[in-house]
């Protein structure tokens, strides 16, 4: 699949934003490390909402006809893309009410109710983002429950690293935040490792034989029937060399999981504090972006069977 940068930016930024917002609610509810002040929570919440809004905005850049984008909310009952949009839009006012109830010191039940609602909606929205890809039967590398799990884990890992940075800047006791980040980043790393292991095996996929129905003999493509590329080859023809993919997987694990993990130790030992937290957050998000690029680059659509591939 052709990796579209607007979609990569959208999924990484909105995932981090939704993750940060839900974890901010948890940090606020349990007053982790002494608890943020209301002003700090509102700033954190605005950063999260900004990431989500920029992400949603960037996702409209890959539309060929954005003037009809508002119609995307209309097929909630069948389309995961529609569901994602609806959940993201419903999340916004709930999140704003939560931040307002903190700012204006509203009663605790109001604050907690809207905090919980927006945290749950954030979770559902990221899940829906993953399901957009996981529901496609045409791409084996995507058609697995590991995809929404990975989207959630990576979004929350990025969010937890951003929250840790906030805790360091606010001068809170960082221990609970380090523990939370360490846990979520490890879960994300393990899930990603399982995913990479999973897509390595060939699996039961359509082959050139089932695609043509000529199942009793070897079949090979002689000619695609077009002189230059088509929409199909541009959208689905993208191929990545196995070696390059392997190298990028090392980058994903090094940048996305190992380096933030190392930085957590530095923050814990109070070595460099703020700088280490900045490196952790930046590395985590950069790792997630590389992971997302690879997620698209490694996906092989079955239409490639009509363009010469023997199997997908």
């Amino acid at each position: 699949m052709h990796p579209a940068f607007s979609v990569i930016f959208f999924t990484v930024a909105s995932g981090a934003g939704f993750g940060l917002f839900s974890l901010l609610f948890i940090a606020d509810t349990f007053k982790l490390g002494g608890g943020f002040t209301p002003v700090q929570i509102v700033i954190g919440g605005i950063v999260a909402l900004g990431l989500i809004a920029f992400g949603l905005l960037s996702s409209t850049f890959h539309l060929a006809n954005p003037k009809n984008a508002w119609r995307a909310f209309s097929r909630f009952r069948t389309s995961w893309l529609s569901r994602e949009g609806v959940f993201a839009v419903v999340f916004m006012p709930l999140a704003l009410i939560y931040l307002a109830s903190i700012w204006f010191e509203a009663p605790l039940w109001l604050r907690e109710t809207f905090g919980l609602l927006s945290a749950v909606l954030a979770w559902i929205t990221v899940f829906s983002t993953g399901m957009i890809y996981a529901c496609l039967k045409t791409i084996r590398q995507w058609n697995t429950p590991l995809v929404p799990a990975n989207y959630l884990a990576l979004g929350y890992a990025s969010g937890s690293l951003l929250l840790l940075l906030g805790a360091v800047i606010a001068g809170l006791d960082t221990t609970p935040y380090i523990a939370m980040s360490a846990l979520i980043v490890s879960i994300a790393a393990v899930l990603k490792a399982i995913y990479y292991f999973w897509i390595r095996s060939p699996g039961l996929t359509p082959t050139i034989n089932t695609a043509t129905g000529l199942t009793r003999a070897k079949v090979k493509l002689l000619d695609t029937g077009h002189t230059h590329g088509t929409f199909l080859t541009q959208e689905f023809g993208f191929q990545i060399a196995r070696q390059k993919a392997g190298l990028l997987k090392v980058v994903v694990f090094g940048l996305g999981f190992a380096l933030p993990g190392l930085m957590l130790v530095w923050v814990f030992n109070a070595q460099g504090g703020q700088a280490a937290a900045v490196v952790a957050a930046c590395a985590g998000i950069a790792g997630a972006a590389v992971e997302r690029w690879l997620f698209f680059a490694e996906a092989r659509h079955v239409v490639n069977l009509y363009h010469g591939a023997q199997r997908c």
């Binding site: 995307a72 893309l81 529901c135 090979k220 929409f231």
Partner: protein, 231 residues
């Protein structure tokens, strides 16, 4: 009704006439135009509803070239319709034709991701997705003579490799042909239940090439001379 096509792989000569006729009709049809990019330039490309690939099956001396025309299969379980967030893609209840409302499409490409047959192509100039309409603006046209109320590709095919009809009617020509010739759908394992069916190439005796008669003395001298004289 469940309207669709039958394509005879035994007969198709791979002339691309169906694709040309399709483009000609649909460029000015209900969802036209079908934009071309650099039609006379270095990298000609454009929107087509019908594409013909050429395959080779088996190995010498049993090999055979199979020409493979493909367009929208008008699937019974069309995921392209299910995933569409705007409701632009729809499947007609009355005849099973899958269409795209050009006024609603936002060009997100998601339906093309869901289609395993590559039937959907984005038109860059209008920013909307386009696909085979089964010539919906032809097959119901009361102004045309009855025998011409068929998709363009079917009418034009010089080899009669294409048939159009109703698969819900067990006595229709398409249903009977599929029964008799062992017609099959493509990639049935994905469970899209495509309506269009393909008729397999017939098995034909291999033409022997090893049993040519040996030459006499004259031939042997010629061969000997050829060995001596290096060209």
């Amino acid at each position: 009704m469940r309207l669709g096509l039958v394509i005879d792989l035994d007969v198709c000569v791979g002339c691309h006439a169906c694709a040309i006729a399709c483009k000609e009709w649909n460029a000015s049809g209900t969802i036209g135009p079908l934009s071309d990019y650099q039609p006379y330039g270095a990298e000609p490309s454009g929107v087509w509803f019908n594409r013909i690939r050429h395959y080779e099956m088996d190995e010498y001396p049993n090999n055979k070239t199979v020409n493979f025309p493909m367009s929208c299969m008008h699937c019974e379980d069309a995921d392209c319709v299910t995933v569409c967030p705007t409701g632009a893609s729809y499947k007609r209840a009355e005849d099973g034709i899958v269409l795209i409302d050009q006024d609603k499409c936002m060009g997100c490409n998601y339906c093309s991701w869901a289609c395993p047959y590559g039937a959907r192509e984005l038109d860059r100039s209008s920013g909307t997705m386009k696909k085979c309409t089964l010539c919906v603006d032809r097959i119901y046209d009361q102004e045309l003579p009855v025998e011409e109320r068929q998709p363009s590709c079917v009418l034009t095919c010089p080899a009669h490799a294409r048939m159009f009809g109703d698969f819900d009617d067990p006595d229709s020509a398409v249903s009977r042909t599929v029964r008799e010739r062992g017609g099959y759908p493509l990639m049935p394992e994905l469970n899209y239940n495509p309506t269009n069916q393909y008729l397999p190439p017939r098995r034909k005796p291999v033409i022997p090439v090893e049993t040519q008669p040996k030459g006499g003395l004259k031939e042997s001298i010629k061969q000997f001379a050829n060995k001596l004289v290096r060209r």
